[in-house]
């Protein structure tokens, strides 16, 4: 009996980490998704050990003792792994530190989009009535807001910062997650076991978090993993248009820098290509992981 009792919902405190891990339901069965996860792990490690991996301060202007700028070095030249930018900064170090902002933006945006969307979807779907009506009208409005222009306008009147992208995503992109989760909740809400929980005295909060939320988590993760790519791409676009955060090194600002310094004309591929590749890799990883989640959610797609 006691060991059976351990599985009761009230006795789960000890296994919180485990439950979260199980809640993630990582799509480990799909080789492509596993590949995506490995890319994530690689970039996370890079971000964590950026201080060790980088050879220079990524924003430091490097110059020789007789005031010559150490600019436009080719890879390997003077010991710069990927060379230097036109303004004398170390490209390799920028690339390494760029993974920090990319993951920071990507993950926080993903958390925001998934969290807000999930909460909205849960509340709207479960409680219905005017709460639902208000939230869904808000979603309609969010659907009417063109996203990239919104970020541009936001960046213009806030200080340029990578957080603008996250903020804009939190303000606008919860809509997709919110709607999908709401409709999912609408169908879950009518399940007999939800009613059963109510009959046996469970509060709304308890029902939502214990009976409904776990079933929609993979959906949240699906949208979260898509949001990672969106956030990184958006940050790159915003930086490219000149509304980025000049104090933060990101792959987007690197591309902007390379572009403004005409890396294409000077064929400085070592400068222009790596940040682009990193963006593509991380975003593709997000797609692969989200496809993994899709196959968990909608197994019919799989043969």
């Amino acid at each position: 009996m006691p060991e059976a009792m351990d599985a009761s919902p009230g006795a789960a405190a000890g296994g919180l980490a485990g439950r979260l891990w199980r809640g993630l339901r990582l799509p480990l069965g799909d080789p492509l998704a596993v590949f995506g996860l490995m890319i994530y792990v690689l970039f996370i490690l890079t971000a964590v050990f950026a201080d060790q991996l980088a050879t220079h301060d990524p924003t430091e202007i490097l110059y020789t003792p007789d005031y010559d700028l150490a600019a436009d070095r080719r890879p390997g030249e003077d010991g710069y792994i990927l060379g230097t930018t036109s303004l004398g900064r170390d490209i390799w170090s920028q690339l390494v530190y760029g993974s920090r902002s990319a993951l920071l933006i990507g993950l926080t945006a993903a958390v925001m989009v998934a969290l807000i969307g999930t909460l909205v979807g849960l509340v709207a779907g479960y409680f219905g009535g005017w709460v639902d009506a208000v939230l869904m009208r808000l979603a309609d409005i969010a659907f009417g807001i063109p996203f990239l222009p919104f970020v541009i306008v936001l960046s213009a009147f806030l200080e340029p910062s990578i957080w603008n992208v996250v903020l804009a995503m939190a303000l606008v992109l919860w809509r997709d997650t919110g709607r999908v989760i709401r409709s999912q909740v609408l169908s879950l809400r009518t399940r007999a076991y939800v009613e059963a929980a109510r009959v046996c005295g469970s509060s709304d909060l308890k029902i939502v978090f214990r009976h409904i939320a776990p079933n929609i988590l993979p959906l949240s993760f699906l949208y979260g993993s898509i949001a990672i790519g969106w956030a990184i791409l958006t940050e790159a676009s915003i930086s490219f248009l000149g509304f980025g955060d000049p104090d933060t090194i990101s792959w987007g600002t690197m591309l902007q820098d390379a572009y403004a310094s005409q890396a294409l004309s000077t064929r400085a591929f070592h400068w222009f290509v790596p940040p682009g590749l990193c963006i593509i890799l991380v975003v593709v990883a997000g797609f692969l992981v989200s496809r993994g989640y899709e196959e968990i959610l909608f197994p019919k797609l799989k043969e």
């Binding site: 807001i145 990239l148 222009p149 790159a236 490219f240 294409l264 692969l288």
Partner: protein
């Protein structure tokens, strides 16, 4: 009857959303730090001159009054005068909107044409080597920053090979009788090629993947099996039966894609010096020309909202189950 009521309801929603977006924009721009006229007022202006200007743009009145004036003007289609150009915002936007729409629609038509055919083919060749190669490639095209792709194409096809012009809609000094004459000209097509290619490469992934998964689903359905039992050749089954049925949801996604594309155009228009609405928005924001930024944003939002509406209605028409829900 209920269809009409549904359309009326959706129209009311459209108006509501546009009103909300306009209000949000109003608040954002009015609460913006810094002097809204910083870009307009030359530092040598006297305080008196500044005061007159503030009055001219109604900026000396209380916020709620400004808001009411703003809404009343919007209803009359008056978006105000651009600070930067000192011309009516509406006229300017109307000059640029056609360019943006041409770019958006032509790239999406190409993307959908390509995506649908390749998607169907992939479903047909399911499980093969093609799938294992094409799908990661498609995902990669979705993962590329559009401006990056645009720059690479520009470098290759314009700067290095010299096949296409690098920007704008027409050769220097060329004149046309009308916008239509311009759009029908060969010159225009050659200017259109690179930006359209960029956008199309980016956009084809959605219809392709959608078509593929719809096809896979439809191909499992009974009538396809029946058709095959009847001895029709496999490709005919795919084309005549499965593809036709799988196409409907793809078609509805087109309208939504227009809405998404038009907001993403901002970047590509900048790379290709395309005189469109998105680039104008970027310019306006950089120049703190908020009547213009506001107008451009609203126009883009209007396209998005209308396209969402069309997608909804299309969805209702194509899938009758929805209208009862």
């Amino acid at each position: 009857m209920s269809g009409m009521r549904q359309i009326a309801g959706r129209l009311a929603q459209l108006v509501f959303v546009l009103w909300a977006v306009a209000t949000i924009l109003f608040l954002m721009f009015r609460l913006m730090p810094g002097n809204p006229l910083a870009a307009y007022i030359d530092p040598t202006f006297t305080e008196e001159q500044q005061r007159i200007l503030m009055a001219r743009f109604g900026l000396d009145r209380p916020l709620w009054e400004q808001y009411l004036i703003y809404l009343a003007n919007l209803l009359r289609g008056d978006l105000g005068d651009s600070f930067f150009y000192r011309q009516p915002v509406f006229d300017r936007i109307m000059e640029l909107l056609p360019n943006t729409l041409v770019l958006t629609f032509s790239s999406l038509i190409i993307a959908y044409g390509f995506g649908i055919v390749v998607g169907a083919w992939l479903a047909w060749a399911r499980g093969g080597l093609a799938e294992r190669i094409v799908i990661p490639v498609v995902l990669t095209t979705r993962a590329m920053p559009e401006f990056w792709l645009g720059m690479v194409l520009l470098a290759i096809f314009s700067f290095w090979l010299g096949w296409f012009p690098a920007g704008g809609t027409r050769p220097p000094g060329a004149e046309y009788d009308s916008l239509l004459a311009l759009y029908a000209s060969r010159d225009f097509l050659s200017h259109l090629a690179l930006p359209v290619l960029t956008l199309a490469i980016y956009s084809q992934g959605l219809p392709l993947l959608l078509m593929r998964s719809n096809m896979l689903e439809v191909m499992r359905e009974d009538f396809v099996t029946m058709a095959r039992i009847k001895g029709l050749p496999r490709w005919r089954v795919v084309v005549l039966h499965a593809a036709r049925n799988a196409l409907l949801p793809v078609a509805t996604s087109f309208a939504i894609a227009v809405g998404y594309q038009i907001q993403g155009n901002v970047v590509v228009e900048t790379v290709f010096s395309w005189p469109g609405l998105g680039r104008e928005l970027v310019n306006a924001v950089s120049a703190s020309d908020y009547p213009l930024a506001q107008g451009a944003f609203l126009m883009i939002a209007a396209v998005v909202v209308v396209m969402n509406l069309i997608a909804d209605l299309l969805y209702g028409i194509l899938d009758p189950r929805v209208s009862h829900a």
